[in-house]
Each structure stands twice: as structure tokens, then as C-alpha cells.
Symmetry: C2
Subunit: 367 residues, 2 copies
Amino acid sequence: MTTIDEHALDDLARGAAILGTGGGGHPYIGMLLAKQAIREHGPVELVQVDELDDDALVVPTAMMGAPTIFLEKIPNGAEFVNAFEALARYRGHVATHTCPAEAGGVNALTPFVVAARKRVPVVDADFMGRAFPELQMCTPTMYGISATPMAMADDKGNSVILETPSNAWTERIARTITIEMGCASMIALYSLSGAQLKKCGVRGTVSLSSRLGRLVREERAAHRDPVGAVVDALSGHRLFEGKAVDVDRRTESGFARAAVAIDGTGPYADSRLLLDARNEWLSAERDGEIVATAPDLIICLDSETGEAVLTEEIRYGFRVVVLAAPCDARWRTDAGLELAGPRCFGLDLDYVPIEARAQQTAEARMR
Amino acid sequence: MTTIDEHALDDLARGAAILGTGGGGHPYIGMLLAKQAIREHGPVELVQVDELDDDALVVPTAMMGAPTIFLEKIPNGAEFVNAFEALARYRGHVATHTCPAEAGGVNALTPFVVAARKRVPVVDADFMGRAFPELQMCTPTMYGISATPMAMADDKGNSVILETPSNAWTERIARTITIEMGCASMIALYSLSGAQLKKCGVRGTVSLSSRLGRLVREERAAHRDPVGAVVDALSGHRLFEGKAVDVDRRTESGFARAAVAIDGTGPYADSRLLLDARNEWLSAERDGEIVATAPDLIICLDSETGEAVLTEEIRYGFRVVVLAAPCDARWRTDAGLELAGPRCFGLDLDYVPIEARAQQTAEARMR
């Protein structure tokens, strides 16, 4: 049995920032909330998907809204429990477990607040294997599983139960309610039976975050190569290293867009990488050639520390390594690409898996 | 026992337009929906407040949104039943009755759709005694009774259950959801016990609408004075008669605002009346002097037919009589004026009851 104590949350948060692919909100606030809950109520049990009874009721909890708001208006933790309980009550069952809806960013940590307070285990799985900006961009959607009933709660005492005919409608209506709630809400949705979670969960992503966080910490302490360790752990591909020389940030239709130019150093001297972001890193273009796109994971790390650099924090002068890693295989199917392919983010690009792109680049070099 | 059949709906709709004080949406679509439901399922029983058991569960149903949208996107009637049933299910009780939340406009008719389909009686009461544009402007708010739980449904299959800490929050969140649902939703809210309704209902307003509608029809048929009959029935005061000479309509923060100038005829020759509207008629100013304001009922009738003229339909050349009638006494208390006094509509005016204003005017004339 794995338990997550207060101490283990540091590695988990560090790893979740990496799987956040630049977005998902900084895990810092989620980590503080989870630490406090564990300090008060005790460590949380982490269970594997295969250990679940088929009739378990797993109720994921998360924050919805603008991560910048969470930093200004810190939840007290009770809102997550309210959403969790409201959803279970509405379904007329007792929730036996919780789990993250997304492995990356702040929402990798929020379920630990509920788990500690309600003494339920966290399942080692999520519905993305990374972070995505919209509610319907989750594996259950591909299996025709509804995001609703969904519960929402805010700090003022408002709560909502939603039922929608599609997960795209869930996103639309929940987004507008979140904005009215002050751009931040605590939500519970995609409540699944154990049997459903076995089918559509992305497995082992909580452990993966913990492992990534530990690797970075240990490699750095040993003066070895934290970045290389992350690349290996994710079967990733190193795309670039260099210095951020231009950052163009703008807010468009509720999303944080950014275009970043990085001038190469070391083996990439005289090259330039352009990163495009909408909350998360979406595409990387090196010297006019696309070298990676969503739904593959594009990750930007501090060259020295190996810590993730978020789209909202990168600035002129940051020295970074950019890498890409394969997404969960289901995102590469037609159904997956229809939900979270490059065109879903306004990029007029066909998706090519990162392994194939890396292969092409290697061959081009040899010619 | 009073029953409302298909035929009786004509008078009810005509009277509800009068109590709508210019707003509340034209009852026409509501009347068509109610007629169809009664034709298919039979007449509806109308019961008096005193006949209710204290533990009856009364679930009012209504439309929320822009009346102009209802005309383009006509509900099929099932949405009202969905909201009605969702709310009763959420409360864990069987709804025994329905009633209008507002006596004026389209929502005077919508409960008859639910009543006919679900075979439940309509209670002869509402929560305004007129029409108002916002959800919290209801008598239960004065008694500290929550508008929530509230159910909302749309034509696409979305449904929502809301719980809010105040009725002002109900309005805010439900409004934003309604906009996302396409500017029209079908709602059930202010579900009250029989005991609660006895305390805070405005009694007899369904019968009053029917009576007003019948009076106008009969007086007109007998070539008598339909306008005078309405003034008498409402203990009202005739403020003006004349011809609309200027209409300035604009949409501001989701409300239909209008300023109308009427040049006097007959006893009001050489006078001018200015009417100000935000959905409903809000104030009347005659030759620079305020002669009536909300929450009293300001009503504009066609001089010939006695039919109500709505703020959205008045045009240059309309010949009208403007009258004012006293609102339910509770709107005149501090709590009532805080909720629906002139300042709630952006008018920098103190409320003076219409009887006192009429008295002042009469005295001024005698001097």
C-alpha cells in the first residue's frame, strides 16, 4: 500500500508541474491546501486502478477557472468537499474514492484535499495524462461517458448541479457559471464506477508525477542531469535548449495565449525555437519547421534546476530546455484528435506523433 | 371549484398583459402553449390559497430570459415539466400544486402548461402582483425565504439545479446560465409549502387577471368604456391620455430600456407625459412632475380597445391612456422598497404611493 504524506507532496507537485506542459495552474496552492489537509487529517492512501471494485464510485475533484485567481483568492478546502459530497448525494451513492481529472498542474493536488478530509483513497490515474484547458478534453468523452452530473461550488456558498446532453455543453455552461462565481470554482465531475475507470483512466499518472519530482530533486542534489532524467523517464525527445529572447503574451477569449522565441545555445546555436501556448504549450517550431504539437506533451524546463517553466512565468532571459514526450495512445486516435488535436486549439496543423517527427529530423540530418 | 378551460385562457392572457405593466413578455406564446396543453390533457383546477394544506408543496414554473427569444424559439412545453419535476425530485417530495411566480406577462400563463400536463391545480396567487425583471424581486425574499433550490432546463437537454446563499445570487447565476442556454430557460423556483405560500403569496392575482380580461372584452363588445372599467377594477388613477410622439428604445445591460413621449389629447391637451421603462414601465412624468413610479403599477392601454400596450410594442402614433394602480402593500415597506423601489431600477427618486401623489395633484389643481 502506498501512502502519500505531507512530505511526499513536494515531489508530487514538482512532477505535476512537468506533466502540466506549461499550464494547468501552478501546483503550489494545491500543494499548500493538500499539506494542510494531510497535517490535520492524516496521510492519504494511493490505490491502483486494478485494486478497485467494479462498483466503486470514484468522484474526481478539481478547480475550474483562471489559475491567476486561485493565487489571489485561495480556497479554504471546504469547497472541494462540498462539491464532492453534493455530487455523491445527487447520485444517491457514497463516494468511495477520488482521483485527479488531470495529471498536470494544480488539479493533480486538489483531490488530496478531499481524500485527506473525507478519508477516502486517491486512485492512481487521471483522464488526460497531462493538462488540457477544457472539460470535455478527457478520455471518458471518447468512451461516450458523460461528464455530468457535475457539481460546482464557490467560496460564497453557491452550488450547482449540472446535467448536459454532451461534454461540450458541460464545458460551455460550467465555464459561464465559473466566470460568474468570480473566475474560480471547485468542481466534481466524471464520477465513474470502478469498472468505467478501468476502461478509460490514464493509469499510474499520480505515481509518475511523484517519480518525476523525486528524480529532479535527487539528480539536482547529486549534481547530475535533472533534465536528462526527465527526458528518459518520459521516453521524451530533447527539442532545443537556449535563452528566451521574446515573449508575447495576450488574453484571448478567456485563455492565456503566449508566443515565445528562444535563441539556441550549445548544440542549437544559430537556431531559434518558437513556442505557441494557449494555457499549455501547443506547438514548437524550430527554424521554420514544426517539431512537436499537442496532444503530445511539450515541456519546458529550467536548464539548471530541471523545474518546469510555466507559460505564465517564462520571461526574457530564462534559460530553458524544451522537450516533447508521447501522449497517451488514445489521444492519437481519430476520436482523440477530434477532441484535443492541434485544430481544437486553432492550429492549422496535422498531428504527427513526436516519435515520427524525431525520426524524420534524424533522417534529414543524416542526408 | 373554479376550472380554467381553453376558452378562459383568452381573458386570462388579456388581463395578464395589463398586470405586466408593459413588460413580463407578451402572454401570447404562453397562452398558445397553455391552450395546447389543456386541449390535450383537460382543464386545470384553480384553487385558493386558503384551500391549501400547510404541507402542500407548491412549485412555481416560469420562463427566464428575453421575451423576444421566446417568440423566435417557442418552447415545446416539456421543458417546463422537466424543470418542475427536477425540482420536486431534488427536494425529495411530490409537488402538489404549481402557481405563477409573476402575475403579469407570459409567466402568468406558463404554469398552466405544467398544471395541465401533470394534472396538478394552479394556486390563485403569485409573488409580485405584477411583473418585475429580476428573480429576487419576489415577496418570499422579504420573508427570508430562499428562491433555491431552483431548477433550470433548456431546449437542448441541459438542466441545472442551483443552491445560492441569497436570492440576489440566484438572479446573478441563473441569468448567466440563461444567456448561455440561448437567452431563454424554463425555470422552477421558490418552491414553497402551503404554510409559506399563505404567508407570502399575493392572493387572487390569477382571478384578477381573468376578471380584467373579461371586463375589457365585455365593455368593448357593449361599446362602453373598457379603460374606465380597468381603472375601477384596479382602484387605479387615470394619469394621462394622448398620442405617442417619440419612442427612444435601447438595450442596456440586458434590459430593454425605453423612453416614450406622449402628447396629450382631450383633458390633457397641451400637456406631455414622459414614460420611462426598463422592461416594465417604471415612472411617469407629466409636464416635469413625477406622477407615478414603480413599484406601483403603471399601465398603458390602447384608448380604443383597452388592451395593454407593451413597452416593446409602443410606436409613434399609438393612442393610449396611461393609468397607475397601487401595488401590493408589502412593496411599500422598507424591505419591499429595498428590493423593488425606484432606486433598484436606477431612478434617483423617492417612492410616493400613487394615492398620495394623486391627492397632491388634486389639491394643487384646487389652489
